[in-house]
Subunit: 379 residues, 2 copies
């Protein structure tokens, strides 16, 4: 194996590859990047068993002298290419033992691994894609993934459920305490029903960041493959049936209060500074309960009481209200903060049923987005 | 106590105060900020026993209705003022139990502590300052403090030694493996000899960042007080005599090699990617040994060998050389990287004695700066 390539092209592809590269692995070969050079093209592959990434390069800067394949220590290879300053790098395999990297007056030799030991990564075949604009696909992820469960107690809840029916793609996430749901109208495509791990979606968001053309989605029984540019990003799917969440979202809201989103968000953030903190079981996130009340004069108060530190109180002026009765409700400020941040709208509404029942956040411009939050009993 | 003030003015002063505020303290009262309002002025104080900060405000936005003093929970107070959006905030003490903060439609009540419990902070009296331009004082710190010891085994080495004699202020730091020394010519001032803890200097650098006027230094037997704007920043000094380092720096260098600093720095950073890593005892920093060799043709090579990963090799073209004999020397790449970063010069020289003896880095434009590095024996 011997080839030269523009360093920036190589690095750009390695940045994609790094998303699938584990820093440690029970299979040491997976800490390596598989490099394969044909007569005309360069392929690189990484896999951490959940995520596999492959990039295909036939850039005009690629000058192949000798085809071949190898597996190089992943992190070291990426670090060296990142730190190199030259326009071009030369890579060559010496006696199938050493990969030599030459750039300007530097020479780096990496002990390689046997490409025969690298597991065969079975990518979904590239037939019949669902084509989505990258930005819309990223939005589906961004507006739901934060509401997935981080605990593994109910593994299926650690993923986002994507469900296509009647030309509507629905994305849902819930950790049993709050739920995010959004939808996207799409062209004719066969129905499907998959749950994608939240970590894979986080990596996918990073990989697609700034990319605004179409992405191509391919499905198999247990995998999702996303293709864009010269990159294949594949993730395993979560096993099991996602719970039916369609019944959880109330449809009748006797109390509707509208706010400027930023005003509400900032008031909630300020009040939550003083709310008592507890660690949720199984996760290292502090959560904090605040109280929202609407009196018969339709003034809205957000408040909290902290026995050791003090009290916080904010009055908000709604942009519009429609209330059947006064209301006092307690909930995690973090859930409302994260829900509010998912909206692109300037104006949002809080929609309450009566009593201690889930409430819903909607945005005037985010027609398909629904954020549902379970209140807690206030003592 | 009751006053109003422009929120930005208050926050700016709290940012200074936060540098002296411990998050935890064996003396809980010190997690509070002492606030004192006279008929005309506002004073705030924080102290973590090593560092004490006091700011004095008589800004035109300050409207005092009632003098008084209190101690408020520090972090909460700062967080609230930081998150508030209004132009003005009102603070008032209710029955000496609660501090009420009002801003727009928000009201925050903090349980206060008894100001009589707050220890008396003894600031050095403001007589006879040594006046230095802030930028030059920051440079003295920046070019030396990284070379202090982080281990407490020899406590005196965890500080930078400042020593004034014959109108030259010398700053020295060493962790026994490398040494940084720089000097500043100053006007007439009485000789002194102090060692300032590295953590205090790190905080002081942050506090003075972006401030380019004069700072005023005041000394007592065991304290240094730095005054700038309306801020007093005081640190305790380290006890004990700083070792005499004047004999450690060689004066004869039979081998001198000059480089463009950035070229040398980048080559060392790249080679160090592959150098074997060990954890230094007592600190969580990995260090790594690289080899520098100069052959009789005056070509310079930097290299390392890593049994598990591979080898790195860089050839450098010096801008000038004067060598009496070939040289092979091993040292910690981190020490050379940190030393090189301390120079403002475009061109630097490495100055070697013969054999395994300390070598010195100098910069063409940094006349007074000397970085000394102890090599290690190469096997």
């Amino acid at each position: 194996m011997e080839f030269k390539i523009d360093r920036e092209i190589l690095l750009e592809n390695l940045n994609y590859i790094s998303r699938g590269l584990p820093s440690k692995s029970p299979m040491p070969i997976l800490t390596g990047i598989k490099i394969e050079v044909t007569d005309t093209d360069l392929y690189m592959t990484s896999s951490n068993t959940d995520i596999s990434v492959e990039t295909f390069v036939n850039d005009s800067s690629l000058l192949i002298t000798k085809p071949g394949k190898t597996v190089v220590p992943g992190r070291f290879f990426i670090d060296i290419i990142r730190k190199i300053n030259s326009k071009q790098v030369s890579l060559s395999l010496v006696e199938d033992k050493i990969l030599t990297i030459r750039a300007d007056r530097g020479e780096y030799k990496l002990h390689i691994m046997d490409p025969l030991d690298y597991p065969n990564i079975d990518f979904v075949s590239l037939n019949n894609p669902l084509i989505l604009p990258s930005e819309k696909f990223r939005n589906l992820i961004r507006q739901t993934v934060f509401a997935t469960a981080s605990s593994e107690k109910k593994p299926i809840l650690t993923g986002v459920h994507f469900h296509l029916q009647d030309q509507v793609l629905t994305a849902v996430a819930t950790d049993s305490f709050r739920l995010s749901q959004t939808k996207l109208e799409i062209d004719e495509y066969a129905p499907f029903d998959i749950t994608v791990p939240n970590k894979s979606l986080d990596e996918l968001s990073k990989v697609l960041d700034g990319y605004n053309e179409n992405v191509f989605l391919y499905f198999s029984v247990n995998k999702l493959l996303v293709k864009f540019k010269n990159v294949l990003f594949q993730t395993r799917l979560l096993d099991g049936n996602y719970p039916d969440t369609s019944k959880l979202i109330p449809s009748e809201f006797p109390i509707v209060v509208k706010f400027y989103k930023d005003e509400l968000l900032e008031a909630v953030e300020r009040v939550s500074l003083l709310s008592p903190r507890d660690k949720e079981r199984d996760r290292e996130i502090t959560y904090s309960i605040i109280k929202l009340s609407i009196d018969k004069n339709r003034s809205v108060h957000i408040s909290t009481t902290n026995a050791t530190i003090g009290d916080a109180f904010e009055e908000l002026i709604p942009t519009d209200t429609s209330i059947a009765s006064p209301l006092v409700i307690g909930f995690s400020s973090r859930y409302l903060i994260e829900a509010l941040r998912s909206f692109d709208s300037t104006e949002v509404s809080l929609n309450f049923s009566e009593g201690v029942r889930p409430f819903v956040v909607k945005g005037e411009k985010d027609y398909y987005l629904t954020q549902l939050i379970l209140p807690v009993r206030m003592d």
